[in-house]
Symmetry: C2
Subunit: 321 residues, 2 copies
């Protein structure tokens, strides 16, 4: 996957060389800090690959790729405040290292800086780029609000959960791809097919996240197995389990959720999930999104072949568990 490493490095370099003023330091130091935190840079890479796919040079798509990555960073800084997260990528979060006010304002300025990148394009595309970007940005806020609302709800439907993960994360993948397609002059059908690919791949990816948390190989996942269960997080596994359970099984689930011994809790729920075939049903749902994503990608008639995007998808989806 050399092209991924290569593109990722270009994004890192471009972020580092953005003109960030020296002062006010409390506004701009957090930006410099956040840009050096690293990350997989998947979203901006999608923008570059989409542009290449339709015959543009990836260089042309770099400002839009940066807009997507900067927007993503804005949402992480604000989400970290809301989630009271002390650490991100092994480093202190902005609101911990500085304070909440500084994190709010640095996030705000990042969002505006994303728009500045978008506004570097020629008049004839700048409006199209803003249209999909604005729509996506609003949806990401809606997804974050739904996620926060879910924390205080015991019964969440499968469809609400899928809508939440679509808004909170998938639409930005679709947007990243569509921006690249617009810049490369793809037609509307092609833009839409690529966007659909991003949405479905994103949902599959998020479902996989839920699976990995409980069934992943801890040495590969890098997190404690069952962390979502310990934190009483609503995941697709839990939602499907509640949907499939009969009344006595539902009672057991509710009792286990209140169980204080985490080992008893995890083992008890694992046993119930096995009886209810929750893992298989979740995998089936994930695979259906994965397949739809694949089909959207196959439909696209484009100048270059689809291999780069497809390889990236497979890398993302084939995380071991």
């Amino acid at each position: 996957m050399d092209f991924i490493t290569e593109h990722s490095k270009r994004i890192d370099q471009a972020l580092q060389s953005l003109a960030i003023p020296e002062s006010p330091r409390n506004l701009y130091d957090p930006l410099r800090y956040f840009f050096t935190m690293g990350g997989k840079r998947i979203r901006p890479i999608l923008t570059l690959l989409a542009a290449e796919k339709f015959g543009a040079k990836s260089q042309e798509a770099l400002p839009a790729a940066l807009a997507v990555e900067i927007f993503h960073n804005f949402s992480l800084i604000h989400d970290d405040i809301m989630d009271e997260a002390p650490v991100r990528r092994g480093k202190e979060t902005v609101h911990k290292k500085w304070d909440t006010n500084i994190a709010i304002l640095s996030g705000d300025v990042l969002l505006i800086k994303a728009y500045q990148q978008l506004n570097t394009y020629p008049e004839k595309v700048v409006k199209q780029l803003h249209t999909i970007f604005n729509q996506t940005a609003i949806e990401v806020c809606e997804g974050q609000q739904m996620d926060m609302d879910f924390e205080n709800m015991s019964a969440i439907s499968r469809s609400s959960y899928l809508e939440m993960i679509k808004l909170k994360t998938s639409v930005l993948l679709g947007c990243a791809l569509k921006l690249g397609a617009i810049i490369a002059g793809a037609n509307e059908t092609q833009q839409q097919q690529l966007y659909d690919y991003g949405i479905n791949m994103g949902i599959a990816f998020q479902i996989q996240d839920d699976l990995l948390d409980l069934y992943g190989d801890p040495s590969l996942v890098g997190k404690r197995v069952g962390g979502d269960i310990i934190a009483n997080k609503n995941t697709l596994l839990m939602i499907l389990a509640k949907e499939e359970a009969n009344s006595s099984q539902l009672l057991s689930i509710k009792k286990l959720i209140l169980e204080e011994n985490t080992e008893v809790k995890i083992q008890g729920l694992l046993k119930l999930f096995e009886k209810l075939q929750v893992k298989e049903k979740t995998e089936k749902l994930m695979n259906s999104y994965y397949k739809t994503a694949q089909e959207s990608l196959m439909k696209i008639e484009a100048k270059s072949n689809i291999s780069a995007l497809w390889m990236l998808t497979n890398t993302l989806i084939n995380r071991s568990y």
Copy 2:
């Protein structure tokens, strides 16, 4: 000032009729709440007047006017969190009525909604509108950060203070006017003259705010006289007093700042300010910005006469004290 009332009503109506989704309620209810809070709507009125000045119908400038007002509301919601303000315009602030997380996210979505308004214009102006809007939005964040930084500083120079009020408030007035001018097809010189008018008028207006707090007629100002002194706020009056004071006077100022009896504190500082002619010096500075604003406005060659803008300025500046 019927045209002001009339324009203000149009802005209110346009805000009320914006399509705000029903759900997620915790994201969108705060927006509906904030839009009904009222306010003078000075910024969007400036956009409408600027457009009319260069021969456009104010209707054409309405989306840009809304963008400015929505942006202003975004910044108020986030500023209220940072300032821990419990009340705005006699009503609970968003972070008090809901919570900080909801106020952060509602503010974010408002900022994006401002961009959506801007993106309704034809391709050939949309990029120009974004350029000045992005620049201004970033400057407003810088101004807010400077203002927060100043809270923890005892020595602030006159020039830093003037730079802060310029960034925090005046640039948005300049931007509001420039957007209207761009939409109406004014040339770059005209745009710049109108922008300069906004900047200088804004600084004069902010200086007047400092004056009104201490020397205003409380029945007209609607606030307690000397509120800034009681809150130990850095104002231009205090900065000039410290600049003008000799070493023994400086010592008196520092002692009075620590004085716990507010009546003794205010009367003591008032006496010192009188000796140092702080009021007169502040008024002189305010008038110099006011005059520069007037000159910028006079220079502009435009289709309609300047009376509407000038009348608005005079209304703003002639608040009694």
